[in-house]
């Protein structure tokens, strides 16, 4: 991948033209990979995923200092930006009750066919094999679209403890999934 901003030294007739060009370059570099990645998080809702990518690119453009980072770090950061936009969207959609509460891990159905179903089973298995403390904070934060503060209140433990358990739980989960060859 070529450096994102290295070829932006040229002269532009206006600030608007430069902004347009920078956004176009960001789309070219990251738009496709972001869309592929985010579609999985929107349940293959392509329109929603495209909106998320667009918003992510605009936010990235507003934080142009970060675009001096190495591409793999820019990518990781863009994913966090996109993730928060998806979560905001899920929260807005949460008036539809069946989308609020994900099923308990133990109750996940085993769907037929697709590789995607296999991945879900592998991820559910990995989650189950974590310690209770680690699984609990992952379920009560990310899987239910709750912040650390909200989960801490529900679990009756300090936010710092939730953060710490989440850190070790997510690291453990990553190791398990890497061993099983599940891609992100």
């Amino acid at each position: 991948m070529c450096p994102v901003l290295s070829h932006l030294d040229g002269r532009f007739e206006s600030a608007d033209a430069e902004a347009e060009h920078r956004i176009a370059v960001l789309y070219q570099e990251f738009g496709g990979p972001l869309l592929r990645h985010i579609r999985k998080s929107t349940g293959n809702d392509l329109q929603w995923a495209e909106d998320v990518v667009q918003e992510t690119i605009v936010r990235a453009w507003r934080n142009s200092a970060r675009l001096q980072w190495e591409p793999s770090l820019i990518w990781a950061w863009l994913l966090t930006v996109a993730r928060r936009i998806v979560i905001d969207g899920r929260r807005r959609k949460s008036v539809r009750p069946h989308e609020v509460e994900p099923p308990e891990v133990d109750m996940l159905a085993v769907p037929d066919g697709a590789d995607r179903a296999l991945s879900a089973i592998v991820v559910a298995d990995a989650l189950r094999s974590l310690s209770e403390e680690h699984r609990e904070v992952i379920e009560q934060t990310y899987l239910r679209d709750r912040t650390i503060s909200e989960a801490a209140e529900i679990l009756g433990i300090p936010p710092g403890t939730v953060k710490s358990r989440l850190y070790y739980g997510i690291r453990a989960l990553r190791e398990l999934l890497r061993d099983k060859g599940v891609a992100g």
Binding site: M1, G32, P33, R36, H37, R39, K40, S41, G43, N44, W69, P71, S72, L73, W75, A76, W77, L79, T80, R83, R84, V86, I87, P102, V105, L108, P111, G113, A114, D115, R116, A117, S119, A120, V123, A124, L127, I138, T141, Y142, L143, R146, T147, I148, S149, A151, V162, K163, S164, L166, Y167, G169, I170, R171, L173, R174, L177, V182, A183, G184
Partner: protein, 65 residues
């Protein structure tokens, strides 16, 4: 502060915490490295959030290594 990298990657920090962590991230090489390692875990967890779809699912593109 370092342990917040997981919560940051998952998008479950409050607004002020995000800003504080991103300031930290600017200068912390170990958190930058960990963020790259953890960045795609949320996408894996999303496998549990949606019913499988019949449409094609492109292979993920990993740029982290």
């Amino acid at each position: 502060m370092h342990e917040e990298v997981a919560a940051y990657a998952l998008g479950v920090l409050d607004e002020e915490e995000i800003e504080a962590f991103e300031r930290h991230l600017e200068t912390c090489a170990s958190c930058q490295q960990e963020l790259k390692e953890l960045a795609e875990v949320p996408g894996q967890l999303d496998e549990l959030k949606h019913q499988p779809s019949a449409s094609e699912d492109d292979p993920p593109m990993s740029m982290s290594r």
